[in-house]
Subunit: 409 residues, 2 copies
């Protein structure tokens, strides 16, 4: 029996170079990937990111209408991604789960390491392979580190994860499984140590190393596939609500829809809403102050995956160009949204529920048309995973007690 | 912007009735679903399961060749499943991840609750809704309970999970998120209590209640979709290796391929290999003894998801009809397979690695052609999740120590 649907050979990337977000006329060759933002336009106070440009006029006809033989993986979108030099794990292709009333949850816990970060790490580890690095280094105590470790393992690269105290209980086991070297250090020491490891070992950084956030030039390109997937299923929704830390996810989703407009496939982009913990919120502060990026104090929040003190210009671009708005959500609202998702059968991390929390806070009357809330990760990743009480044993002969519990009394 | 690919309305089920595996001429109407095996052919020592029959001559042309608008969910295969009365979560549609040399891993950790059990629970909870039950009850300390709880929550049914000591650390948080009632009781008390709750509350059982395993009549139908997915991507592989507990997964995968032969789409089924922990292995014992199902003592094993003392006739049928074989694998081999998967970027539960462990044990020379090993669940589910040491803090100023750790010295 031969294959029913031939897997098409991976198509070539149409990436043609890097371009500064600080000034789009400032261009760089595609290689090496810039991991410290734009060296031309960045200042002492603001670091501008770099993005990837493509030969859009060469995008194959049918890229968005022909369903693939294999259902999953960045390969489907290879023309509009940087070169995929590292092997994949079938990242992306996550379902849109309906919650009724035109509301859809994009369940990113269905990725290879159970968070949206796999979309970015297929791309950044590919950059590391393309750049000839022997390893990667990442500062993360959660999803990003685990995902980077998985892709590094698959590509045969070494991986150093610089963590901090307060890592979720399962994360060490997770990282160890992939063979990563974990270096827990005090919070403030993470980025200086990362830079030093880059310099000493030549490892490729897949975390930020600049004063305001720029991250990896290629990384957010991986998030564009979220927009492509939403488009092929729903068309262009009215709005997308996204948990927001450094704004890379926000930017990637905006850019993906913007490319669909460039390609003549869509006539508009959805309005994007960034959902940050109200304990911090550097993007909301930057928008309020009319600056490209800023730094804020961060108070107490359990949404550790998005509790950023510093923002980046990508988020400002995405909100401005989509006509969107920044939202600040409380831990209480995130917990309520997490509970709402669980009642619908989706167990999300607290931070992952920020998108739905933002939508509920704004009120659905504000948005007319289909709405997508991105849920970024699984409930297994939460710090408070093991804090709540374990169910007490019950004596099976004590039928009154069984009845009380089953009856909810 | 309108939808690019219209989601086709869910197609109707072609299920026409239930049929005994003990004697295929013994038939029952489709409703109510039989949850205690075949009442006609079962004896005091062997309980025969019941399966679902379909109007195969009415299967829509193109069911297996037309890629769906929405990529995920049992809806795609609705004609060949019992009626989908409970809402879905985009179950199935998991990727085949290549490991080289014609070996593919079917990564079932990419399901809604991160295990293969979602394929079965969409179907059993649908049966509960169809039967008019107000709740479901399940005996499980792991994947099956969590999955049943998620689908029950989504369907608005109550869910009672009868657990036992030695539950994995994350499972209580998992079940509580979905609002399930957890009743931890001694191991032996689980099934009598389950029966009593069924009788008293009228809850629909989605666990076994018979002396040898029969389980739910509709359940294994949900596993057929695994075969359909493998077929649409790879055609018919040479062999499939599966972690095996009660043999429901094994039977479902066999039946899916057998249906493709019935429909004239395939000319053979793959050889199936059941992979049980060598500490137990009721299916291997039944095959050895030439009986439909048997009971064995179970020694120490960490593969808690498949450490069954009792088997069922479904497994015997699947091995016999596919020309397959039972394999017994040690914990050591499962741990080695789990490590091999992690090096490839896939973090699996120990039990989930039993398929690959069986394949490595048999030796690849035995099988000619593409091989699929099913990896059933995520590493987050293991009991020993938190047993291993947490990485020690490092002083970022102690560069010699950093170098030693990064260098692997």
């Amino acid at each position: 029996m031969t294959s029913q649907v031939s897997p098409s050979a991976s198509q070539a990337s149409l990436a043609i170079g890097q371009r500064s977000l600080g000034d789009p006329s400032v261009r760089f060759p595609l290689w090496p990937p810039l991991t410290s933002g734009c060296p031309v336009t960045s200042t002492d106070s603001v670091s501008y990111p770099v993005e990837v440009d493509y030969a859009y006029d060469e995008v194959p006809a049918g890229l968005f209408t022909t369903a693939p033989g294999r259902p999953r993986g960045h390969e489907r979108w290879a023309p509009l991604l940087p070169p995929l030099r590292a092997p994949g794990l079938g990242e992306g292709g996550t379902p849109l789960v309906p919650l009724g009333d035109g509301l859809w949850i994009k369940d990113e816990s269905r990725n290879p390491t159970w968070s949206h970060k796999d979309r970015i790490n297929r791309v950044t580890v590919s950059a590391a392979v393309g750049a000839g690095a022997q390893g990667i280094v990442v500062a993360s105590s959660g999803n990003h580190g685990a995902s980077a470790a998985a892709y590094a393992a698959r590509a045969g690269l070494r991986c150093v994860v610089i963590g901090s105290a307060g890592r979720p209980p399962a994360v060490d086991a997770f990282l160890r499984a992939y063979g990563a070297v974990v270096l827990p250090v005090p919070e403030d020491a993470r980025w200086p140590l990362l830079r030093r490891i880059v310099e000493r070992f030549g490892y490729h950084p897949v975390s930020n190393v600049t004063p305001t956030h720029t991250g990896h030039a290629f990384g957010p390109e991986g998030y564009k596939t979220l927009a492509y997937e939403i488009y092929t299923e729903l068309g262009v929704p009215a709005a997308v609500f996204l948990p927001t830390g450094y704004g890379e996810l926000l930017f990637g989703v905006w850019k993906g829809f913007a490319e669909l407009v460039t390609l003549g496939l869509a006539d508009r982009v959805p309005r994007l809403y960034s959902c940050e913990p109200e304990a911090g919120g550097p993007l909301a502060a930057a928008v309020r102050d009319g600056v490209p990026a800023t730094r804020v104090p961060v108070g107490e929040t359990a949404a550790y995956a998005i509790d950023c003190a510093v923002g980046g210009y990508r988020g400002v671009v995405a909100l401005r160009e989509s006509g969107g708005h920044p939202l600040l959500v409380s831990d209480q609202r995130m917990a309520a949204a997490r509970a709402e998702l669980a009642r619908a059968g989706l167990w999300a991390e607290l931070s992952a529920a920020a998108g739905l929390a933002g939508y509920r806070q704004l009120g659905q009357a504000v948005v007319e048309g289909p709405v997508v809330c991105v849920s970024t990760s699984s409930g297994f990743k939460d710090r408070d995973l093991l804090d709540s009480a374990v169910a007490a044993d019950v004596d099976p002969e004590d039928w009154a007690e069984v009845e009380r519990r089953v009856g909810g009394g």
